[in-house]
Amino acid sequence: MSLEFITKYLPLYEKAAWLTVRIGFAGVVLSIVIGLLCAAIQYYRIPVLSGLTAVYIELSRNTPLLVQLFFLYYGLPKIGVRTDAQVCGMAGLAFLGGSYMAEAFRSGLEAVEKIQMESAQSLGMNRYQTMRYVILPQAFSISVPAFVANVIFLLKETSVFSAISLMDLMFTAKDLIGLYYKMTESLFLLVVFYLIILLPVSILGAALERRVRYAGFGA
């Protein structure tokens, strides 16, 4: 391994890592928003919308992110919508992540037994108070493990961004390998940077899981 090569191209990786983090973070946040919306629509069985949501979820879960990105990147301009690669990356990640988050939140909500709601109502709580103080905290703690797994899954999925020529980590590594044939060094840096991004998320996620572990269970 050439240390010289590594130090030389470290800044390039650093830049790519920031791009990955930025788009990944934005994609995850958007996923959470979409997921909450969809979960609420399905939980309250809102007519029409819940049907549309179900279609979206199936579509999103059963197609690869790469295909979704191609649709956004090459398809949208065909119908006159101009998009840049970064926006496509975020939108694609959000499209994929939204359904995974929706499923995580919905299963959390549905895992809280109906009689807990009745118990709250029998104390005179209205619908909002019941949701806010009784159902959501329990649903949230039940969703946390799936939620954490989704965040990590989505951040890893960012590695396909290079396909729409976003200069992310994967793109940088492939580029350097192509240019200089420095396979070992390029891949080494790639792994190290993914770990730098994902390990803290993993550790934070595990801590969150530990914090909420008992909250929803063992009534």
Partner: protein, 271 residues
């Protein structure tokens, strides 16, 4: 345990002889099956009513209708002058006046015992935290659970959870308490501790409607026993009368399921 509980608890003026809960021609159906068939009933202030009947006859459903957790298909239910209706706007204010205790406790698992008790008085009744805490601690002490205030429900035994659930309901200062087989899920040695609490509440003059399969307890606590069968209340009598001389064949059969004949060899006839 019964002793200290006898002291006054806020929210209770003992004035008997005044209708608190009225049901008039109440009908409840699940799809085609008729669960409550034209039931009329009055519970006076200060009365303790025990509702018995075989499993699946609709006892829980009746309590749930009273708390508007189930809609009814006919008739009217009133608490005092107010109609209880799942669709009415004043529903939450009526529910505050009706305390309900479930067989499965239904404490909120993500909150400590104290927070379970404080939640509704604080958020629903907007009372001061310090005041409710003071009251909660007094009540917890009376049911022998003062030191559990900071525990989570999962750290308590079934009997302890049920006593907390009772305290939680009491802290709302309800006018009527509903108990739905609150000892049915408990190990036998914990049944007593919960029943003692209810007995103490009865002695205090609280108005209660109790569903139970503990017949000795029913006899001790009830002013009147109701027997629900095929959607109708077919017995409505003081406990002595109900247990000694049930009028209907169905009630006799029901009561027989609780008694045992001696079968030991030496007592058997003809040996």
């Amino acid at each position: 345990m019964a002793g200290p509980l006898l002291q006054d608890v806020p929210g209770q003026d003992i004035a008997c002889g005044q209708a608190l809960l009225t049901m008039e021609h109440v009908t409840k159906r699940f799809e085609e099956s008729l669960i409550l068939d034209d039931i009329s009933l009055t519970i006076q202030k200060g009365e303790v009513i025990v509702l018995v009947g075989s499993s699946g006859c609709g006892k829980s459903t009746m309590l749930r209708c009273i708390n508007a957790l189930e809609p009814i298909q006919g008739g009217i239910i009133r608490l005092g002058e107010e109609q209880i209706d799942p669709k009415s706007r004043g529903l939450t204010s009526i529910r505050q006046k009706i305390g309900m205790v479930f067989q499965s406790y239904e404490l909120f698992p993500h909150m400590t015992v104290l927070d379970n008790i404080l939640l509704a008085p604080m958020k629903v009744q907007k009372r001061k935290k310090a005041d409710i805490t003071e009251e909660a601690v007094i009540l917890l002490e009376r049911v022998g659970l003062k030191e559990k205030a900071g525990c989570f429900p999962r750290q308590l035994s079934g009997g302890q959870k049920q006593r907390v659930a009772i305290v939680r309901a009491l802290c709302m200062h309800p006018e009527l308490m509903l108990f739905d087989e609150v000892t049915a899920a408990l190990d036998p040695e914990m049944v007593r501790e919960v029943l003692d609490v209810i007995l103490a509440l009865a002695a205090q003059g609280r108005t209660m409607l109790i569903v139970t399969h503990e017949m000795q307890f029913a006899r001790a606590v009830a002013d009147r026993v109701l027997f629900l069968d095929k959607g109708k209340i077919i017995e409505n009598a003081p406990p002595e009368e109900f247990f000694e001389n049930p009028k209907t064949e169905r009630a006799k059969q029901f009561l027989n399921t609780f008694s045992f004949e001696t079968v030991k060899g030496k007592d058997k006839q003809g040996k």
